[in-house]
Amino acid sequence: MTLVRVTEVTHRFGSLTAVDRVSLAVEPGEVVGLLGANGAGKTTLIRCILGLLRPTSGEVRLFGRAPSRETRARLGYVPQGLGLYDDLTVAENLAFSARAFGVAPAGRDRATAPPGPADTDLDRDVAAVAGELVGDLPLGLRRRVAFAAALAHRPDLLVLDEPTSGVDPLGRTHLWDTIRAAAEAGAGALVTTHYMSEAEQCDRLVVLAGGRVAAQGTMAAIMGDASTVRVATPRWEDAFVALEEAGLPVALVGRSLRVPGTDRERVAGALRASGVQAGLDLVPATFEETFVALAAGAAA
């Protein structure tokens, strides 16, 4: 059964259309990334999915029905602020959130469900700090405690807001291990983010821009064959200033420059006009470059 089905959802605040005819679905076992710049409509859409906002038009179905108290109990939500009490211990936080969810929802019995290897890791690492105040823990561990709280009732759907933000790369692998293990056990995950390292971990992406779905699919499909002009020159400083003055979206990467969303001739012309010698070649665009182009396209 499809876990989340959003059909043609529009949400208006007065004259502002925050979400404009958006459709998306999350299936069991899937990790779906919801991407968008600030103001693209991510937060409003998530609030509609959580049942906190009623869409102006269109339909949200969670587990085949309208969002309600019961659907809420089958959801695990980790907000960006983590939703933990810093001045309570880890054990107290977990007890508090367990009580908020009451009994495990029917059909998913925690006692009989086989824990995946990552669950064991998570439980062990969190148990090791059970007596410590959440506020005293490093961010990576705090995030894992929030995951443990969100997963304790074995939710069918995880909604995660920038779940690995601020954590070191090795720490991030532990967090993704937990998300992936939940997906392998049949849960779905909807991850909102604007970090490319998080987008890369998802099976499928939905890119919002200006309230609308600007692109949807795997990262490779969204990137397509977009290309970027790479500028190699021993005097990158001069080339940078020349391209910037020509109004091109130039970026410094190491000691070479990249100019996405334009053609080689425009770059060559701008450099020639400033008398800068440089080698140009066309290289595949990065996902971030593609994403910025999508977001800018919607703003234009």
Binding site: V31, G36, A37, N38, G39, P117, P138, L139, G140, S165, G166, V167, D168, P169, L170, G171, T173, W176, D177, R180, H194, Y195, M196, S197, E200, Q201, C202, D203, A232, P234, R235, W236, E237, D238, F240, V241, E244, P249, V250, A251, L252, V253, G254, R255, S256, T286, E288, F291, V292, A295, A296, A299
Partner: protein, 330 residues
């Protein structure tokens, strides 16, 4: 004041007791593999120009007797962007504070321009919420003795460059995250600092504003500033000319991003499922496996590793080394 002009006569080179010898460009980086060192140049670099370099060497900082960072070396020259990479609590802010002269090292050398030639953006808001954009800039300008037409001219150019020109009368607290960070950066760049120190300037900023912020950073470097940027994101580290990865206050690996990737010991493999042996971690729905001696692992095939793989391997190697050391001691 001639903006960006070298005034090497005013360098501050502070050496604390216990420092390891004179500042030298040739010393080792202290990382787990010698993939170069921050600021050591890289492929495609022009013939070296003799320039003043800023940075820290063998830096140790302690707070209340507890070591926060140790053994940290980082160099940056004018026109370069160096990255300090690490998660929350890795020690990035401590190194930046020492570099900017805001905290006194327990030992080691700090080389920086005089305080009035440093621009610093701290983590967090960094702008006055109840002052307008113009007032924020005037306030920052006053701190550096900039006023009148010099301030107006400089602030005007930065407002244009940051796209904040239409928001001059907006309160700092009313700006979006991206605009606020751009204002903080503009405030730090107002006096054309020779060393620009930025503590996670893109946190909470979306990719569109992030690209604009990095363009400002690159512009500062292109016009002669030495820039040090802290970040927890490797896609940002990839933009730097040299990077230093910190883990629990210690250097993990350093060099140009290419050198850090090229220096991975052994091989990185890709596998559809977790293999029976080898150190593995998830990458999307698949697994990455590290083979320290480069040997093959059944069911896994070699991949071209990226910066993320390199930093994960460095962290794993450091953990394994620490575990071995502990065993030896026991």
């Amino acid at each position: 004041m001639t903006a960006g002009a070298p005034d090497a006569g005013h360098e501050h080179a502070e050496r604390q007791p216990g420092s390891g010898g004179p500042w030298s460009r040739g010393s080792s980086s202290g990382g787990p593999w010698s993939g170069g060192r921050p600021g050591s140049g890289g492929p495609g670099q022009a013939e070296p120009r003799p320039r003043v370099r800023f940075g820290v060497e063998d830096l140790v900082v302690a707070y209340h007797g507890r070591t926060a960072v140790a053994g940290v070396t980082l160099e940056v020259a004018p026109g370069e962007v160096a990255g300090i990479v690490g998660g929350d609590g890795a020690g990035k802010t401590t190194v930046l504070r020492a570099l900017a002269g805001a905290v006194r090292p327990a030992s080691g050398t700090v080389r920086r321009p005089p305080a009035r030639r440093i621009g610093y953006v701290s983590a967090g808001p960094g702008v006055y919420r109840d002052l307008t954009v113009d007032e924020n800039l005037a306030f920052a300008g006053a701190a550096y003795g900039l006023r009148g037409s010099a301030l107006a001219e400089r602030a005007g150019r930065l407002l244009d460059r940051t796209g904040l020109a239409g928001a001059r009368d907006r309160l700092g607290g009313q700006l979006s995250g991206g605009m606020r960070q751009k204002l903080a950066l503009a405030m730090a760049m107002l006096h054309e600092p020779r060393l620009l120190v930025l503590d996670e300037p893109t946190t909470g900023v979306d990719p569109v504003s992030r690209a604009e912020l990095w363009r400002l950073v690159a512009h500062a470097a292109a016009t002669g500033a030495a820039v040090v940027v802290a970040t927890s994101y490797l896609d940002e580290a990839e933009r730097t000319g040299s990077m230093l990865v910190l883990d629990q206050g210690r250097p993990l690996v350093a060099g140009t991003p290419e050198a850090v990737v090229a220096g991975i010991p052994g091989a990185v493999l890709d596998a559809p499922a977790r293999p029976d042996r080898g150190t593995a971690w998830r990458r999307g729905a698949r697994w990455r496996v590290w083979s320290p001696d480069g040997s093959t692992v059944p069911g896994a095939s070699p991949v071209a590793p990226d910066l993320e793989d390199a930093v994960i391997v460095a962290a794993l190697a450091a953990r394994e080394r620490a575990a071995r050391d502990k065993e030896m001691a026991a």
